[in-house]
Amino acid sequence: MIRLAAAVISGLVFGLGLAISGMVNPAKIIGFLDVAGDWDPSLAVVLAGATGVTMLTFRYILKRDQPLLDLQFHLPTRTDVDYMLVLGAGLFGIGWGIVGFCPGPVYTTLLMGRWETWVFFAAMIGGMVAFRFGSQAMISRTNARSPAE
C-alpha cells in the first residue's frame, strides 16, 4: 500500500517537473533539437538537472542491500551494447524528431483534451506491441532453425 503511494508521489513529482520545465510541449523539444534554427537549450538544462540529481544520489541508494519498501532492487542486468540497442535508439530519435513527443511527456498531455496526443499515444503503444510480436516471431524462427539439442 505504501509502495503504491511512493509510485504516485514519484509520478506526480515527475509530471510536475515536466510541466514546470516546459517539456510537456513538443514545440519546446523541437526548439532544442533544431540546432540550426532559433535554438532553445532548455532541454539540455533539464537533462543536466535531472541527471545531476541521479548521478549524485543513485550510487548511495544502490549501496543499500535493499530499497526502503521492497526486498530487492529491480535493475536492468544487461551491460553489452548490441546492434538492436543502437538501431532502436536511432528509430526512437527519428520519431522523437518528427513530433517532439517521447513517452513521458505524452502521458502528461493525455488529459489536456487534445486529439493529437491520443493519436500519437495509440501509435506509440502500437509500436511497442509490434516490437513485442516481432521479436517473439524472430525468436521462434531462430529456435526453429536451430532446435535445442
Binding site: A6, A7, V8, S10, V13, F14, G15, L16, G17, L18, I20, S21, N25, I30, L33, G37, D40, S42, L43, V45, L47, A48, G49, T51, V53, M55, F58, L68, D70, H74, L75, T79, V81, M84, V86, L87, G88, A89, G90, L91, F92, G93, G95, W96, G97, I98, G100, F101, P103, G104, Y107, M112, V119, F120, F121, A123, I125, G127, F131, R132
Partner: protein
C-alpha cells in the same frame, strides 16, 4: 535563443531527478516510462497496480499544476496525422528495441553510469537532431 528558459528548466529538471530518486529509494524501481508501460502491456501478478498509478499520476500532475497556477499549459503539436502516427510508432518501437527512452536511459541510466544508456542517449540525440534538420531545413515542412 529567445525561448530559452534556464530557471524553470533547471527547477523542473531537479524535480524529475528527485522523482527518479523516490522510485528507486523506496520501491527499487527504475523510473523509465517505456519499461513501466511495457509492464502494463505484459502484466505480471502483483506488478500492475503501481505501474498504472505511476502513469496516471504523470497524466494528472500537469492538470493539478495548471489549476494551482490558474494558467493553462501551452501545448503546440503537429496536426499532421501521418506525422503523429509514424512518429508515435517509431517512438514506441524504437524505445522497446533500445530498452528504454529519455527517462529510463537519459535520466536514470546515466545516473548509474551505464554504457548502454550513454550509447542510447547519444544515438537518439544524433538521429533526432538530424530528423529535425531534414524536416525543417531541407524539406521545409513545419509540422
Amino acid at each position: 535563443m529567445e525561448n530559452f528558459t534556464p530557471v524553470s528548466a533547471l527547477f523542473g529538471g531537479l524535480l524529475i531527478g528527485f522523482a527518479a530518486v523516490i522510485l528507486l529509494l523506496f520501491n527499487g524501481r527504475i523510473m523509465g516510462v517505456t519499461g513501466i508501460t511495457r509492464g502494463v502491456l505484459q502484466p505480471r501478478r502483483h506488478d500492475l497496480l503501481w505501474r498504472l498509478l505511476f502513469l496516471a499520476s504523470l497524466a494528472v500532475a500537469p492538470i493539478l499544476y495548471s489549476w494551482a497556477m490558474a494558467e493553462p499549459i501551452s501545448i503546440e503539436v503537429t496536426g499532421s496525422l501521418p506525422a503523429l502516427i509514424i512518429g508515435g510508432f517509431l517512438v514506441g518501437f524504437g524505445a522497446c528495441a533500445g530498452s528504454g527512452c529519455t527517462s529510463g536511459h537519459g535520466v536514470c541510466g546515466l545516473g548509474r553510469f551505464s554504457k548502454r544508456s550513454l550509447t542510447v542517449t547519444v544515438t537518439f540525440m544524433i538521429t533526432s537532431i538530424a530528423t529535425v534538420y531534414v524536416m525543417h531545413h531541407l524539406i521545409g515542412a513545419t509540422p
